[in-house]
Amino acid sequence: MAQVSTAPRLASLRATPGLLERIDLPRRVVFAAAASMILIVALLLVFIAWQGIQLFVRDGVPVGQILSPTWQPDRASGATNFGLLPFVAATVLVTAVALLISTPLSVGLAVFLSEVAPNWARAIVQPALEIFVGIPSVVWGWLGITILVPFLAHTFHGNAIIGLPVVGQIFSIPGFLTGFSWMAGSLVLSIMILPTITSVSYDAFRAVPLEMRTGSLALGTTRWQTIRHILIPSALPGVLTGVVLGMTRAAGEALAVQMVIGNSPTMPAAITQPVTTLTSQITLDMGNTVFGEPWQDALWTMSLVLLIVSITSVVLVRVINKGRMAT
C-alpha cells in the first residue's frame, strides 16, 4: 500500500517542474557539444574556400589556367603558370591503381573473415587489421623508402625484365632508376586502405541474412557459388561504400605518399615515373612559400579541390546507400 501513497506525490512533482528542469540545461550542453561539429565543418568550408579562390580573385589568374599541364609557380624564373592538371591527374591515377590492387584483396579478406574463417582465425586476423589501421602514415612512408623503393629500383632496373618486348618498355623509364614512383605510391596506399575497405565490406557481408546462404546451399551450390552469386551481389552497396571510403583516404593521404612518390610535377605517363599528387605538393611547398603570394594561393586552391572531392564522396556514399538503413 506504501507504493500507492507515493503516486500522487510523484505526480505533483512532475506537474510543477522547477526552473532548472524547464531550461533543461543538460540537454542544451550535450546538444552544443554535438552541434560543434557543424560549426567546425562550416568554418573549415568557409576558410578553405575563401583562401582557395584568392588565386583567381586577388592574383587575377584566369580560372581556365589551372586546367593546363604546366606548373611554373616561381616568379623568379620568368612568367608563372599555375596548371594543376599534373597533380590532379597523378592523384586520380595513383589512387586508381591503389584501388585496383587493394579492392580484390580487401573484398577477399572480408569474405574470408565473414564466410570462411573459423573463430580462431578471425580472432587473430581482426586484431591484426586494427593494428594496421593504427600504424602512422610516416611509418608506412618510411617502410616505403627503406624497403619498397629499393626493391622496385633493384627489380626493374638493369635486369631481365627490361629485355622483354612490351613489358620492358613500360618499365625502362629513366626516372625509375631510383624506385621513387607512381607505382611505389600506389603500393603503399593499397596497404594503407586495405583495413578501410575490408572492415566496411565485412559489415556488409555480415548483414546478409543467414537464410540467403542456407537457401542457396540447399539448392546444391558450393560455398564459392553462394559467395559469388548470392553474397557479393547482395552486399554490393556496402562493398562500394568501402571502396569509396578507401578512395577518399587514398586521395587525401599526404605524408606516406610524398615520401615515396618522387615529387616531380609532370604529367604522369608511365607507372614507373616519379609524379606528384595534390597532397604531396601542398606538404612540400606550404612551408617554403609566403602567405599571400600567388604560389601559396595555388596551394590553397589545391586544398579546396581536395575538400570538394572529400565532401562529394560523403554525398556519394549516401547515394549508394539510399533506401537502406542509415548506419
Binding site: E21, P26, R27, V29, V30, F31, A33, A34, A35, S36, M37, I38, I40, V41, L44, F47, I48, Q51, G108, L109, F112, L113, V116, P127, A128, L129, E130, I131, F132, G134, I135, P136, S137, V138, V139, G141, W142, T146, L219, G220, T221, T222, R223, W224, I227, L245, G252, E253, A254, L255, T279, T283, M286, G287, S303, L306, L307, S310, S313, V314
Partner: protein, 306 residues
C-alpha cells in the same frame, strides 16, 4: 535413387574444383595480412636493435652522435594529453546527445553529415585549416595548443561516434527501470547509462588516443616542425615559451620528427634515429590497441558481474 544423380549433375567437378581453389585463395588473403604485419614487426625489432635504449629515450637530439628523442617524445605525450582533455568531454557529451536525445530531424541529419564530412576531409587539409585559423588569422604562431585544437577538430567525429555506440549498447530496460523509479532523464543518463557504458567509452578513448599519437599531417603546420631545444622540466611557468609544460610553445612530435628527419636527411645517424623512433611509435600503437582490448574486457567483466 533418382534424386542423387541430379544433385551430382548440378555440383559438377569444375565447380567443386573452383570452390576448393577459392577456399585456398581466401585463406591466402588472411595469411597475407598476418605475414605483412609480422614482417613489419620483425623488421622494426631488428632495425631498432642497438638503437632503442634508455639513453635513446631519455636524452636530447644531437647533431654528431646518435642522440635521443626525449623532447619530441615528451611533445607527443603532451599534445596527446592536451587533445584528449578537450576531445574526450566534448565527444562524450556529443555522443550523449546523439544517443539519448537526438530525434530523427533535420538538425540531427546535419550533425551526422558534419560528422561524416570531417571524417573524410584529408588530415593535411585539417592542418591547413589550423594554419589559416590560428597562425595566419590570430597570429599565434606554431603552438602545442593549436596542434591539440586541430587534432580535436579532426578526431571529434570519431570520439563522438564511439561514445554514441557505447551508450546505445546499454539495454533499454536499464533506462526504463531508472525512469520508473522517478529519476529524471539527466539523472538516468548520469547515474545509469554512462556508468554502464564505461567499458565501451574507455575503449573508444584509447582507440582515439592511438590515432592522435601517430598523426603528423595535422601537426606540420599547427604545432611546428623545428628541432626542439633542451627542455628544463623544472620550469613550470605556463606562459614561458621555454617551459616544456607550456601549451604556448612550438612542439614537434615524434611522428613529425620522423617526417622532418627523412625529408632533410642530414646527420650521420638519421636512418638509425628514424628506425628507433618508428619502432617506438609502433610499440605505442600495439600498447594502445592491446590496452583498449584488455581494459575493455576487464571492466566489462567487473561491471557486469557486480
Amino acid at each position: 535413387m533418382t534424386a542423387t544423380p541430379s544433385l551430382r549433375r548440378k555440383t559438377s567437378r569444375g565447380s567443386i574444383l573452383a570452390d576448393r581453389a577459392a577456399t585456398v585463395v581466401l585463406w591466402g588473403t588472411g595469411a597475407l595480412v598476418l605475414l605483412i604485419l609480422g614482417a613489419i614487426i620483425v623488421h622494426f625489432a631488428i632495425a631498432a636493435w642497438g638503437v632503442v635504449s634508455p639513453s635513446f629515450i631519455l636524452s636530447d637530439p644531437s647533431d654528431v652522435a646518435l642522440g635521443g628523442i626525449l623532447p619530441v617524445l615528451w611533445n607527443s605525450i603532451y599534445i596527446l594529453a592536451l587533445t584528449m582533455v578537450i576531445a574526450v568531454p566534448v565527444g562524450l557529451l556529443g555522443g550523449i546527445y546523439m544517443s539519448e536525445y537526438a530525434s530523427d530531424n533535420a538538425v540531427t541529419g546535419a550533425i551526422r553529415f558534419a560528422e561524416e564530412a570531417i571524417s573524410s576531409v584529408p588530415s593535411i587539409v585539417v592542418g591547413l585549416f589550423g594554419l589559416i585559423l590560428f597562425v595566419d588569422n590570430f597570429h599565434q604562431g606554431f603552438t602545442a595548443l593549436n596542434g591539440a585544437l586541430a587534432l580535436t577538430f579532426f578526431n571529434l567525429p570519431l570520439m563522438t561516434r564511439l561514445s554514441e555506440q557505447a551508450l546505445r549498447a546499454v539495454p533499454q530496460e536499464e533506462r526504463s527501470a531508472s525512469l520508473a523509479l522517478g529519476a529524471t532523464k539527466w539523472q538516468t543518463i548520469r547515474h545509469v547509462v554512462v556508468p554502464l557504458a564505461i567499458p565501451g567509452l574507455i575503449t573508444g578513448v584509447i582507440l582515439t588516443a592511438g590515432r592522435v599519437f601517430g598523426e603528423a599531417a595535422v601537426l606540420l603546420f599547427t604545432s611546428g616542425i623545428g628541432t626542439p631545444p633542451h627542455y628544463n622540466f623544472a620550469n613550470f611557468d605556463l606562459f614561458s615559451p621555454a617551459s616544456p609544460w607550456s601549451p604556448f610553445r612550438p612542439s614537434t612530435t615524434l611522428s613529425v620528427y620522423i617526417y622532418k628527419l627523412q625529408s632533410e636527411g642530414l646527420g650521420s645517424h638519421v636512418n638509425q634515429i628514424i628506425d628507433g623512433s618508428a619502432a617506438i611509435l609502433i610499440s605505442m600503437v600495439l600498447i594502445f590497441n592491446l590496452g583498449a582490448r584488455f581494459i575493455g574486457r576487464v571492466l566489462t567483466r567487473r561491471l557486469t558481474a557486480a
